[in-house]
C-alpha cells in the first residue's frame, strides 16, 4: 500500500471517529444566521434612509448627540471608490504596517473587471503570436454567494513554435505571507523530483516564484510552468503555461496529451515581467472584495476578560445581573441575564476590533453596510441604535441594539433581548422562555452604556 493510500485510509478513519451533538450546534447556527440576516438588513436599509423600517417592526433610530445640539442622523459612512494598489516600485503600503484608519472612509474594492477585459489584457501582454480559444471569468463572475470564484483568462497561444495553453488567474494569499502557506517560496525541506522551484524577491516587497513541473512519464515530455507574483498586500497573480494545447493538465487526464514543443513558450523572466505589468492593477484592485489588504493578525480583538467588570460599573442602580456566559466563538462576547426586580432580560456584550474592516472593505464582515446608516457623533464615533420587534414566527419579543464603532476600530455592541434565549422556534429552545412585556434597559440607557469612556480601557 502506498503512502498516499495509507494516508487516505487513516484520514477517513480519523474523520469518521468524530461525533457531535448536532441539536445545539444547529440551534447556534440558526441564531448565527439570524444575526447575520439582521445585520445585513440593517445595513441595506441604513444606506437608503436614516430612519427606516428594518424587517418587521424595527427602526434605525435618530441618535441624540451627547451634550450637543439636536439629533444627528445618518447615513454616516462614505465609500471611496479608490483603493491603494501597490506597485512593484514600492510604496507605504508595501511596508507591512497596518493602514491608517480614516474616520468615515471605507475603501472599497475597485470596479469589477469583466471576462473580455481579462482576456484582452492577457493577449496584449503576450509576445508576438496568435491567441485563440479564449475562455475566462471576470472578477464579478459566478460563484457561490459570499465566495466568488477566482477570475481567470485562458488562451491557446502559438508563437510559431508550437501551441501552448496559457492561463492567467488572480487570487489572494494568506496574510501575513507564510512561505509554506502559499506558492511564495521554495521550501528546501521538500524535494520533489518532478518540480523545480525558484523564487526571488522583487522591489517593493513583491516576490516571484516559478514552479516548473515535469509530468511523468518523463518520456512523454509534458511540461508546465507556473509563475506567481505575490504583492505585500497578499494579492497574488499567477500565470500557468504548458507545452501542449490543453490547459491545466491533471495527473489522471494527461495520458492522451501530446507536447507541441520542448518547453512552454515564456521564460520565467518573461512570466515575471508579464505579471508585473500595471495592466493588472484593475484586477488587483477588484480582488479587494474578498480579502482585506493588511494583516488581520495585526488586529486582535480586545480581551474579553474586562467586559464584565466594565459592565458592572455601568449598570444603572437597581439592575443586577447573573448567569454570565462566555462565547469564545468567532465573535467573542459575554452574555448576562439582567434583572430589575420586575423581570429578566438577556444582554449580550460584544467588543471587537474593526480596524481591519475600516482599513479595507471585507465583504465577509460587511462593515460598510452595517454602519452605512449610522449617525456620526462629533468625535467620529458611529452609532447605530435599533429596536427590532421579532415576528411571531420567530418567537416574538423585542430586541434593542446599541452598536458603536469608534474611529480607532473599537466596536462595542450591546444587544438586549426580551427572550432569555434570544430566538424562536427551531432554536432548540422552548418558546415559553421568552416574553416579558418590557426590557430591563431602555434604548437611551443602552446608548449611555455604549458611549461610556470606560470601554476604551
Amino acid at each position: 500500500m502506498s503512502f498516499e493510500e495509507d494516508f487516505i485510509a487513516r484520514l477517513h478513519d480519523t474523520a469518521q471517529s468524530y461525533r457531535t451533538d448536532l441539536t445545539p450546534l444547529v440551534a447556534s447556527a440558526l441564531q448565527d444566521g439570524r444575526r447575520r440576516l439582521r445585520r445585513r438588513r440593517a445595513g441595506l436599509v441604513g444606506g437608503v434612509a436614516a430612519v427606516a423600517l428594518i424587517g418587521v417592526g424595527a427602526a434605525l433610530l435618530p441618535v441624540p448627540v451627547p451634550g450637543g445640539a439636536g439629533t444627528v442622523t445618518g447615513p454616516a459612512a462614505t465609500t471611496s471608490s479608490t483603493r491603494a494598489t501597490p506597485l512593484p516600485t514600492g510604496d507605504a503600503s508595501a511596508t507591512g504596517r497596518p493602514p491608517a484608519v480614516t474616520t468615515g472612509v471605507l475603501p472599497a474594492p475597485g470596479p469589477a473587471v469583466g471576462t473580455q477585459q481579462l482576456i484582452s489584457t492577457l493577449e496584449s501582454l503576450l509576445p508576438t503570436g496568435s491567441a485563440t480559444e479564449p475562455q475566462g471569468r471576470g472578477t464579478d463572475g459566478p460563484g457561490v454567494p459570499d465566495a466568488p470564484d477566482a477570475p481567470f483568462a485562458t488562451v491557446v497561444f502559438d508563437d510559431g513554435h508550437g501551441a501552448s495553453a496559457i492561463t492567467f488567474s488572480a487570487t489572494h494569499a494568506t496574510l501575513p505571507l507564510i512561505p509554506s502557506d502559499t506558492a511564495m517560496a521554495c521550501d528546501p525541506s521538500i524535494s520533489i523530483a518532478q518540480v523545480t522551484c525558484t523564487a526571488k524577491e522583487l522591489p517593493g516587497g513583491y516576490r516571484f516564484q516559478l514552479d516548473q513541473l515535469l509530468y511523468l512519464p518523463a518520456a512523454q515530455g509534458l511540461r508546465e510552468w507556473q509563475g506567481y507574483l505575490t504583492a505585500p498586500d497578499g494579492t497574488e497573480l499567477e500565470l500557468d503555461e504548458t507545452n501542449a494545447a490543453q490547459e491545466q493538465m491533471s495527473a489522471k487526464s494527461h495520458a492522451g496529451v501530446r507536447p507541441t514543443r520542448a518547453d512552454p513558450p515564456l521564460t520565467g523572466d518573461q512570466i515575471a515581467a508579464l505579471l508585473s505589468s500595471a495592466s493588472w492593477d484593475a484586477v488587483r484592485a477588484a480582488q479587494g472584495e474578498w480579502y482585506a489588504p493588511g494583516s488581520e493578525l495585526n488586529y486582535p480583538d480586545p480581551p474579553v476578560s474586562g467586559i464584565l467588570g466594565t459592565l458592572n460599573s455601568l449598570l444603572p442602580p437597581g439592575v443586577t445581573h447573573s448567569g454570565e456566559s462566555y462565547n469564545a466563538g468567532a465573535r467573542a462576547s459575554t452574555s448576562v441575564e439582567l434583572s430589575d426586580g420586575q423581570g429578566q432580560g438577556l444582554l449580550q456584550v460584544t467588543v471587537e476590533n474593526w480596524a481591519i474592516d475600516l482599513s479595507a472593505n471585507d465583504r465577509w464582515i460587511d462593515s460598510a453596510t452595517v454602519f452605512g446608516g449610522a449617525a456620526v457623533l462629533p468625535d467620529g464615533d458611529q452609532l447605530a441604535l435599533s429596536e427590532l420587534t421579532l415576528p411571531a414566527a420567530e418567537g416574538g419579543g423585542v430586541e434593542r441594539t446599541a452598536d458603536l464603532l469608534r474611529p480607532d476600530g473599537l466596536r462595542i455592541i450591546l444587544q438586549e433581548s426580551s427572550s432569555l434565549l434570544g430566538g424562536g422556534p427551531g432554536d432548540g429552545h422552548s418558546e415559553g422562555s421568552s416574553a416579558r412585556p418590557a426590557l430591563v434597559l431602555s434604548l437611551s440607557q443602552l446608548q449611555d452604556l455604549v458611549l461610556s469612556p470606560k470601554w476604551h480601557n
Binding site: 494516508f7 487513516r10 447556527a29 457561490v144 520533489i192 513541473l213 507556473q226 495527473a251 481591519i356
Partner: protein, 168 residues
C-alpha cells in the same frame, strides 16, 4: 424566512452537519471547539443565503466551499485562537485507538492551513483537482503542486508511523 424554507434549512443542517463537522475537525487539526465554530459560521451563512442556495444544484457542495473558506478566513482573523503546534488536540469521541489518530492530527497541524485544506478536500471530500482549485480560488496546477508538497511533508513527518498504523 418562511416556515417551509426554515424546515428545509433545518433538515439540511441536520443531515449535513455531521459531515461538515468531521471535515472541520480535520481542517482544524482536531480542535473540536474551532470545528464547532466553523460549522456554526458555515451554517449561519447558509441560512442568510438559503433561498438562493437551496435552489442550487448541490447545496452540500456549496456548504463545504463556505466551510473551507471560513476556515482560511478564520485563521486570518483569529489566528490566536488556534492552539500552538505541539499542543495535542482532543481525542475524537468514538475513537477506539486515539493515539494513532492523534499522531495523524498532530502531523496535519504541522501543515499550513491551506495545505491542510488541499489535502482534506482532495482526500477526505474526494474532490477533483479542479473542484479543489475552485473552492480554494487556486488554479489546478497550484493545487497539484501544493498537494505534492503537503504529502511529501507528511511523509517526512510520519512515514514509518503511518505504515505501522496500517499494519497495526
Amino acid at each position: 424566512v418562511k416556515q417551509a424554507q426554515l424546515d428545509e434549512y433545518l433538515e439540511f443542517a441536520t443531515s449535513r452537519g455531521s459531515h461538515l463537522y468531521r471535515t472541520a475537525c480535520l481542517l482544524s487539526g482536531g480542535d473540536v471547539h474551532l470545528a464547532e465554530d466553523l460549522v456554526q459560521e458555515t451554517l449561519g451563512r447558509m441560512y442568510v443565503h438559503w433561498r438562493r442556495v437551496s435552489s442550487a444544484d448541490n447545496p452540500a457542495a456549496y456548504a463545504h466551499v463556505v466551510l473551507v473558506r471560513a476556515f482560511l478566513s478564520h485563521r486570518r482573523r483569529r489566528s490566536s485562537g488556534e492552539r500552538p503546534v505541539g499542543d495535542l488536540p482532543e481525542a475524537p469521541v468514538s475513537d477506539a485507538d486515539p493515539a494513532l489518530r492523534l499522531v495523524l492530527l498532530a502531523a496535519l497541524r504541522q501543515l499550513s492551513p491551506k495545505d491542510r485544506a488541499v489535502l482534506v478536500l482532495r482526500y477526505w471530500e474526494d474532490r477533483s483537482v479542479e473542484e479543489t482549485a475552485s473552492a480554494l480560488r487556486m488554479t489546478a496546477g497550484a493545487v497539484r503542486t501544493q498537494s505534492f508538497r503537503a504529502l511529501a511533508r507528511l511523509r517526512a513527518e510520519l512515514g514509518s508511523d503511518l505504515a505501522d498504523f496500517v499494519q497495526h
